[in-house]
């Protein structure tokens, strides 16, 4: 019996996981979420402290696969920006990501009644990686080839008159939505003067917090939990808040499995394999 438990077929665990995730999606429970003061609150305050009319730049560094985690953050931040009267410039380091968020951002902007080219702009993906961004630091228009995502020249977009150089005077804050590389290293290394907020996938939190005390990051939104916290801060509960219950149950499943695994291990007292070194 215990021997069997020790070598439990993974497929049973997989089945349990699917069940545990689906049930709360169909029948939500609605447990409350508290806000993390060191990370999410800091991000919220950084953006909240910008004077009305400042330009915030979004750096899209994710793609469809991390949609469930990062897109709700983007929507919640846009909600806050609309309240504060901030302007938005969408750029990005991931081409697939910009394709992916294009319509979502446009739809959200439309819901606020933002005017394209005046209140917000999407300059699209610019090939060339870091060297392109470095070129934008000296001359944004030239570095960005002078056109937005739909090939409209910058001359026809009034907001671009304010962005001649990629520096702290033109861009008050960069929010990077990051799920991998290239990512925030670009900004930390080459543009340390512009305030940087990271909307991060959960996997990168542990390795990113060290940038908070040094001020290299002005805020960090941690994963779906962070998105739910942000939705709470802006007072608009959305998708993330709804999905937190499924998260709760699946975490309990893992804890249950860990306990079960330890019971099996200690009662069989058999040394199988060895822990990584």
């Amino acid at each position: 019996m215990l021997e069997k438990l020790n070598n439990l077929d993974s497929r049973w665990m997989y089945l349990a996981l699917v069940i545990v995730l689906i049930i709360p999606v169909i029948k939500p429970i609605g447990m409350p979420v508290s806000v993390n003061k060191d990370l999410t609150q800091r991000a919220y305050d950084t953006i909240g402290a910008l004077p009305a009319g400042s330009i915030v730049m979004f750096d899209v560094a994710y793609s469809a696969s991390t949609d469930t985690e990062l897109t709700p953050m983007m929507m919640a931040i846009m909600e806050q920006m609309a309240k504060k009267g901030l302007k938005l410039l969408v750029a990005g380091q991931w081409e697939s990501g910009l394709f992916f968020v294009k319509d979502k951002v446009a739809a959200k902007a439309k819901s606020f009644g933002w005017k394209y080219g005046v209140d917000w702009v999407n300059i699209g993906f610019k090939a060339g990686g870091i060297s392109t961004f470095r070129a934008m630091a000296t001359d944004f228009w030239k570095g960005a080839m002078g056109i937005d995502i739909d090939k409209t020249p910058f001359e026809q977009l009034p907001i671009m008159q304010r962005v001649k150089k990629l520096d702290e005077n033109a861009i008050s804050c960069i929010v990077i939505y990051e799920s991998g590389s290239p990512g925030m290293e670009t900004w930390i290394t080459y543009f340390p003067k512009i305030s940087l907020v990271k909307a991060s996938v959960a996997a990168e939190i542990a390795s990113s917090v060290r940038y908070i005390p040094t001020g290299q990051l002005k805020g960090l939104i941690p994963g779906m939990r962070g998105a739910a916290e942000y939705e709470k801060l802006v007072g608009k509960p959305g998708v993330s808040t709804q999905l937190m219950d499924a998260q709760s149950l699946s975490c309990l499943l893992i804890i249950g499995l860990i306990v079960l695994g330890n019971i099996a291990f200690f009662s069989s007292k058999k040394k199988a394999g060895h822990i990584g070194r």
């Binding site: 993974s10 696969s65 991998g180 590389s181 080459y190 340390p192 003067k193 996997a203 990168e204 542990a206 390795s207 394999g273 060895h274 822990i275 990584g276 070194r277």
Partner: protein
């Protein structure tokens, strides 16, 4: 120059170069280099290849992200030369999966060279190095499928990995392979630690080429690295003193900002 740390960074680079140069030169002159501390993950390589030989199954060494200019490739070639040499000696099938096409071409060269040194150049097969496009999940699906089909007895995951680390190491564990992982991506280390038999943490990945080859000059670069660490510690201690003396104008801190 207004970039934070640009000048002090430049000085750091120069200092490190000089230290490295010094130790390499003294190693070349035959000065005895200190011994490297034990790294169980690297000591396990021989045993793992021996096991693969007994079982008659291949040895797999894979990396997705490293291009030809990346330090991970430089590290990888150290492992590759050693492992391929042993595989050639024991006549064990060796497979390398690369995610970058330029690197794949170089990997082939490194492996051929090892086969030649082992005296068995004819044992090199054209499908030893397999390139799979480095697009994260396409690559992972191919490697996972390959693991289940060819069931290597030993898998080595060396270099920079992202979220695929969990899939690779867990599928590897399911087929019962001995797994050795080395990565500098601290966010992915826990998954390798959880599912692999041996994990080289962070910087240990880079130490392999010196450790495995036992070449005194390469060991010299490791000594230089350790001296670098010692300097970091000294700078931090000085910084702490300066901070206690005058928290408003920390001399060391200002210097590092320069």
């Amino acid at each position: 120059m207004s970039v934070d740390g640009a000048v002090s960074g430049f000085i750091t680079a120069i200092v490190l170069m000089v230290i490295t140069w010094y130790y390499v030169t003294s190693a070349r002159r035959g000065k005895q280099m200190p011994e490297i501390r034990k790294l169980p993950g690297l000591d396990a390589i021989d045993e793992a290849i021996g096991r693969a030989t007994e079982m008659g199954r291949p040895v797999l060494l894979a990396n997705r992200t490293a291009d030809v200019g990346s330090v991970h490739s430089f590290a990888l070639w150290g492992y590759m030369g050693y492992v391929a040499g042993l595989c050639a000696k024991y006549d064990t099938n060796f497979i390398n999966i690369a995610g970058d096409y330029l690197a794949a071409a170089v990997n082939e060269e490194v492996i051929k060279q090892s086969y030649l040194e082992a005296g068995r150049p004819e044992a090199f097969k054209p499908d030893t190095v397999r390139y799979i496009p480095g697009d994260q999940w396409a690559w992972t699906s191919a490697v996972a499928g390959m693991l289940k089909r060819e069931r290597p007895a030993t898998t080595m995951w060396i270099g920079y990995f992202y979220a695929e680390s969990m899939t690779l190491s867990e599928v590897g564990a399911q087929i019962g392979a001995i797994q050795i992982a080395a990565t500098t991506n601290t966010a992915q280390l826990p998954f390798f630690v959880a599912a692999c038999d041996y994990t080289l943490i962070g910087e240990e990945e880079y130490a392999a080429s010196a450790y495995l080859s036992k070449e005194p000059m390469l060991t010299g670069t490791l000594v230089a690295e350790d001296v670098g660490k010692f300097i970091v510690v000294v700078v931090v201690v000085l910084g702490v003193i300066a901070q206690l003396v005058d928290p408003k104008a920390n001399l060391i801190s200002n210097w590092l900002k320069f």
